[in-house]
């Protein structure tokens, strides 16, 4: 029998998730107000947790020479088919310089040209040697005096009406349940992978582009607490290298490789010229290859055969800084990018606010619809094209806003949820575990069930990511039965207990996702959200955000729309 102890902690600001956004939020708060206590909790060790564990070779949202927050915002608007929160995109862009300079001062090597300026890689990108980008920002958070609790997994917010006043969490390394009170909370847990069937089966199922450990915890906690969410229907389906699912910007932008199909045709320039060809909006660059394959012109490649030996070597070095598996793949398959074009494919659909715009509906301070709760990074909605620097910027914005709020609000809220209820909910799969009992479900099986439903009925890879209402309704029906099965979930240890929480999170995210997909009756983002029953874009009726709230008492998801506000003039479809 497990003896679980309970610990009660108080802090001024609680940051859930010590990643890209969370670390920058912590530093910003501590620098502006050294007396303010900041506690970061992370389910991993912040030195290598989350998306940046393997490193990064570029900062993909930066204002190179002659670019401004306005030109960036116009570009991002066009890249996302004319619908973004321009206020959010612009405010993050205003902080790119501040954040990049700051992280460079912590030691991040940024490549420079002969003029001493950062070395561009495409319009909005600069090159870095970021193998250690994560330990660099984690060290800065610690040096700034943030307290860190590693291997502590948040499960739910502590609520006082609609005010968030802390979070429940449990350790995956010791038998400790945490009740953490805070005057302000910043959620920065990243997006969600593992919702759809993964690209590779068996022992390569976590060979994903997005961190497979990002399970939508922050989304799910917000959903369960009744926070308003936006744009889940804008799934991110990434064009990535075949099999190892490595980022393609390193190839397309890094070495200017054109897209070609199986016949050697530059299909983007032939069929998608008016959309920008090889530089078309990101959803189009996902949709066009899908069509090439579907219509019998696959495989699809990025053509790297113009590279000389030195060019190939530089390309390999760029991947070693971020995604070493790509280099291993080439040498394990007798592929040389100088001789063979690099085959690409589409990924399982992810839900992320940093590439797309699914997440919390936030105001310009990144405050969510729940008071006391701020969202930053992939978990925050409305502002795509964040990537690393935008997540940093949102961490800074949320940190500043949280600090301002606790100067005004000095008390702790009084949480209504009894810790006993949450304790029982969290630990029941562990207490239930019994190897002699036949009717128990390990989290792996549960996860596969979710993935099967979404894959087959909600636009998975095997159906070219396309969907129609009748199939989505079947997904809704199947998903609705899953919460009734939680009482069979079992965990043989604390690691599996974490996985149990993660599948529960995935169910909550999946249910909201399907409602959003059903609700938007147009195809706004081809490839990401291809509605066979509403194949056209419909600006007259759908140039607006699809949002939702969940009510835990009635188990009901309510959909609503929020207007789009055009702040910057100009053509919304060309940036």
């Amino acid at each position: 029998m497990h003896q679980i102890s309970e610990e009660y902690l108080d802090t001024d600001v609680l940051i859930i998730g010590g990643g890209t956004a969370g670390c920058l939020a912590a530093v910003e708060i501590r620098e502006k107000s050294p007396k303010t206590e900041v506690l970061i909790i992370d389910k991993g060790h912040i030195d290598r947790s989350g998306c940046l564990a393997g490193g990064m070779n570029a900062i993909n949202a930066y204002l190179n020479r002659n670019e401004t927050p306005d030109t960036f915002t116009r570009f991002v608007r066009a890249d996302n088919m004319g619908l973004v929160r321009e206020d959010l995109v612009k405010t993050q862009a205003e902080l790119f310089e501040y954040c990049v300079k700051k992280v460079e001062s912590w030691g991040l090597p940024i490549k420079k040209g002969e003029d001493g300026k950062y070395l561009p890689r495409g319009r909005w990108n600069i090159q870095i040697n970021g193998e250690s980008i994560k330990p660099i920002i984690a060290s800065a958070a610690r040096r700034a005096g943030a307290k860190v609790l590693n291997w502590v997994c948040a499960t739910n917010f502590i609520l006082d009406e609609d005010r968030v006043c802390g979070a429940f969490a449990f350790s995956i390394r010791q038998n400790t349940f945490y009740v953490i009170r805070a005057k302000a909370v910043i959620i920065a847990t990243g997006g969600a992978a593992g919702l759809y069937r993964p690209n590779n089966p068996h022992d390569a199922q976590h060979k994903t582009w997005y961190s497979p450990f990002n399970n939508g915890a922050g989304y799910a906690m917000g959903i369960r607490a009744g926070a308003e969410m936006t744009s889940y229907e804008m799934r991110y389906i990434a064009l990535r290298t075949k099999d190892v699912i490595a980022p393609t910007g390193t190839i397309a932008l890094g070495v200017n490789a054109p897209y070609v199909n199986g016949r050697g045709e530059p299909f983007m320039e032939i069929r998608w010229k008016e959309y920008g060809g090889d530089r078309a909006a990101t959803p189009i660059r996902a949709y066009a290859p899908i069509l090439e394959i579907k219509e019998g012109r696959g495989p699809v490649y990025l053509d790297t055969r113009h590279l000389d030996r030195e060019g190939v070597r530089k390309l390999k070095e760029a991947f070693l800084d971020m995604y070493p598996g790509q280099v291993l793949y080439w040498i394990a398959n007798e592929l040389d990018p100088g001789e063979h074009p690099v085959e690409v494919q589409l990924t399982e659909p992810y839900i992320v606010g940093g590439h797309c715009q699914s997440g919390y509906w936030v105001d310009i301070d990144r405050q969510t619809t729940l008071s006391g709760l701020y969202a930053a990074g992939d978990v925050a909605g409305g502002a795509p094209y964040k990537f690393i620097s935008g997540c940093w910027a949102e961490g800074v914005i949320a940190g500043r806003a949280a600090l301002k709020s606790i100067r005004e609000e000095k008390s702790f809220g009084q949480g209504k949820v009894e810790s006993k209820t949450e304790f029982d909910r969290v630990y029941s799969p562990l207490f239930r575990y019994d190897p002699r009992q036949m009717y128990l479900v390990p989290p792996y099986d549960f996860e596969t069930r979710i993935q099967k439903i979404l894959e087959e009925y909600a636009g998975g890879a095997s159906t070219f990511f396309e969907m129609n209402e009748e199939r989505l309704v079947v997904a809704r029906k199947h998903l609705s039965l899953l919460p009734g099965q939680y009482s069979y979930l079992c965990a043989k240890d604390l690691h599996e207990l974490m996985l149990c929480q993660e599948v529960i999170n995935r169910v909550d995210v999946a249910r909201v996702l399907v409602e959003h997909l059903i609700f938007r009756k147009e195809t706004r983002w081809p490839g990401y959200q291809t509605r066979l029953d509403y194949p056209a874009r419909d600006d007259e009726n759908w140039l607006k955000f699809v949002n939702s709230t969940y009510d835990a008492v009635s188990d009901k998801i309510t959909l609503l729309t929020r207007p789009y506000e055009q702040i910057l003039d100009g053509d919304r479809y060309h940036g």
Binding site: K43, G54, R181, K207
Partner: protein, 127 residues
């Protein structure tokens, strides 16, 4: 695309209770078996191939291999921390041809043992 532990090299970081690979896996996938004194991967299928465990291993005992469905034997790719400012990589292809890389970085040394985290004071509050 799992990480493999070379049991001829792994010494469990001797007396360490929490060796670097166990600390730094972002998915909590490695643990130390105190009976055999070796690091163990919980499940091949869960590894993300991020090299977070490989880079700081003092015994050079961890290696990422492609799942066989994705890549042939016996290609290998191994990092080596050359200094705080340089990381090396050795790539050996299926024919045994070796290619070496040296890349600038800002590596923060990882101690075998990390000091116990600071004490957190239980507020004693009841909610």
């Amino acid at each position: 695309m799992p990480v493999y532990v070379d049991n001829n090299k792994c010494d469990g970081c001797k007396a360490s209770k929490n060796p670097p690979c166990v600390r730094l896996c972002p998915g909590d996938l490695l643990y130390k078996d105190f009976t055999t004194n070796k690091a163990v991967l919980r499940d091949k299928a869960e590894c993300w191939d991020c090299y977070a465990c490989v880079k700081p291993c003092p015994q050079d005992a961890l290696e990422i291999k492609l799942s066989y469905q994705i890549g042939f034997f016996s290609a290998s790719l191994r990092p080596e921390i050359l200094s705080d400012e340089k990381i090396g990589w050795s790539a050996v292809d299926t024919k045994g041809k070796v290619e070496r890389f040296e890349i600038i970085t800002k590596y923060i040394p990882v101690p075998v043992d990390e000091p116990e985290s600071e004490e957190f004071v239980d507020s004693g509050a009841t909610i």
